[in-house]
Symmetry: C2
């Protein structure tokens, strides 16, 4: 409610730039500059975030021992150096298995803002989501008991769990807590960009070409779905909704029970090719033109697509600095 | 020559602790505290080290696009969070291939000090070595032309090569230069430890138990091979030399043309199980007892092995802080 009031009443007054206020009016929200406000937006249910939990979660995120083989970590596919994804069409996991439905790895950056996790939206939050890839036989392929045994055999981890979960119901090395810690780390993977600076009033944060692109983006109605703080990730939508998706025959993913797919975020989209749930499109402009066709039932010209793609450059975020974690040694046998 | 004079004449005077001077006498050298002295030890032939090259090399070390699949990087097997190795018996690479000879991934830490690279010593230095895993069909499986094309298509990389190789014969994105940059980064992967502090005169840097272990280590003659600054990595040795290696039947690696194997470093050895070229032994004490049997033709009791293993804790090094590199995006197709 407060957010709505802010968008309707305060924002237009604060941000005289008509383009920024139009973006606000169409439902786009910048990443808050205020740390407390940001924390509030990414907080997790039944999962108190604290510094130890974030540090623990980072270690677990990078720890390949959470895969059955011992060589795949969350960071393998959600490569924090490559826009939080892997840059290949289909996610590859345990014993080189391809994702069961031929799904492309979505970025992990800014997912803490999403209202639903996974492309079919089957998971309510990150604490739950993190369990999926670990146990998927085509991804990390571990069973919860083995994960608990491995992590629980490492003294440093046991101690860190006690501190990390001091305010929670349970401070043991359980599979749920492993996922909770990873989720806590993931809430820090937020990438404010020049677009946010612009929305916060720094008019010159966007180039002229990016402003042109934003205008086209707003006019075309992309914000019907690509809205909120992540310009996506806020709702489930039919896909395709209006026309046809020309690469629909590739992969077997059909969305949720209603055929709906979670709208992807546009943050860092220039850094996460290939596009679509099946990773079939490498060119951003082609993806934009397809979206006009498949979702909006309107023609987006190559020129317009190029303008929108130009705007997307302003969504390339400043990544949090990640110090590669030194992990406690153990024996996997 | 200067080094020999230092060891013979100066060191014993400086380090009154008889245990440290005995270690010096048996050929063990600490990692220099003096930065210039250290730089001199790790310099590369025909490969000027500078900050840009180190940064570029770090990016390439973490860049999975240097594998044919786009999902395996140097860091996949040489995990800097896991002692510079992967913690599994046999290296796993392209399409889940196991290493052709069943070889265990050796650590990348401190390899800049080695006199030969690869377990069979077939490569003279890191600039040459780095090309091996990239092109091995069971590892990263890329061909030089593809690697050059991918990296050369990224403007940021092209610019960085120009700066990184400003003092070299060629500043282009060639496969040789890709390897050279990675090698430059690897020269920074040095891990001084409490043992070095001890050798530099801080008597209390080692616990009593570690000193006992060091004494046993020196008395048993382990330093015949495990000497120099990396307590290993300085020579090729027959393996097994005296007795039998009870797990010799596993894997097909037989060393160089003479049946010799490069002596492994003992730095961070507590963090790089499983042991031996074929990764067959998980317990450090068992590995130590086997070494007595196979190499020294002498019985090392379980107690003595435990004491030596205790000493090895002092070789757990301080790892350089690695900021996870943000990589420039590109399209792999």
């Amino acid at each position: 409610m407060k957010k709505i009031l802010f968008v309707l009443l305060v924002a237009p007054l604060l941000f005289a730039d008509s383009l920024a206020s139009r973006a606000y009016e169409q439902g786009i929200i910048p990443i808050p500059q205020d740390k407390a406000e940001l924390q509030k937006m990414v907080e997790l249910k039944n999962n108190q975030i604290n510094d130890v939990k974030i540090q623990l979660g980072k270690m677990l995120f990078f720890d390949p021992r959470l895969s059955l083989s011992g060589i795949i970590s969350c960071a393998t596919c959600h490569n924090l150096g490559l826009g939080g994804a892997d840059g290949v069409p289909v996610a590859t996991g345990h014993k080189w298995a391809q994702n069961g439905k031929g799904i492309n790895t979505p970025t992990v950056y800014n997912t803490a803002f999403f209202t639903a996790q996974f492309l079919d939206g089957r998971s309510p939050d990150l604490s739950d989501q993190a369990k999926g890839p670990m146990t998927d036989p085509n991804e990390m392929a571990i069973d919860p008991a083995t994960a608990e045994k491995r992590i629980g055999s490492i003294e440093l981890y046991v101690d860190m769990f006690k501190l990390a979960f001091i305010d929670d119901d349970n401070d043991e090395v359980t599979f749920d807590n492993i996922a909770r810690a990873i989720a806590a780390f993931e809430t820090t993977l937020i990438t404010p960009s020049r677009f946010d600076d612009f929305m916060h009033g720094r008019k010159r944060a966007l180039t002229k070409a990016e402003k042109v692109g934003l205008k086209v983006f707003l006019e075309k109605g992309c914000t019907n779905c690509h809205n909120g703080v992540t310009l996506g990730g806020q709702s489930m939508q039919m896909f395709p909704a209006q026309g046809k998706f020309r690469y629909a025959h590739i992969g077997s993913f059909t969305g949720d029970e209603f055929g709906r797919v979670r709208v992807p975020t546009l943050r860092n989209i220039t850094q996460t090719a290939p596009y679509f749930h099946n990773g079939t499109v490498w060119e951003l402009t082609e993806a934009i033109m397809i979206m006009g066709e498949a979702q909006l039932d309107q023609f987006i010209s190559e020129e317009e697509a190029g303008q929108i793609a130009e705007f997307f450059k302003s969504l390339e975020g400043r990544k949090p600095e990640i110090t590669y974690p030194v992990l406690p040694p153990t024996k996997l046998r």
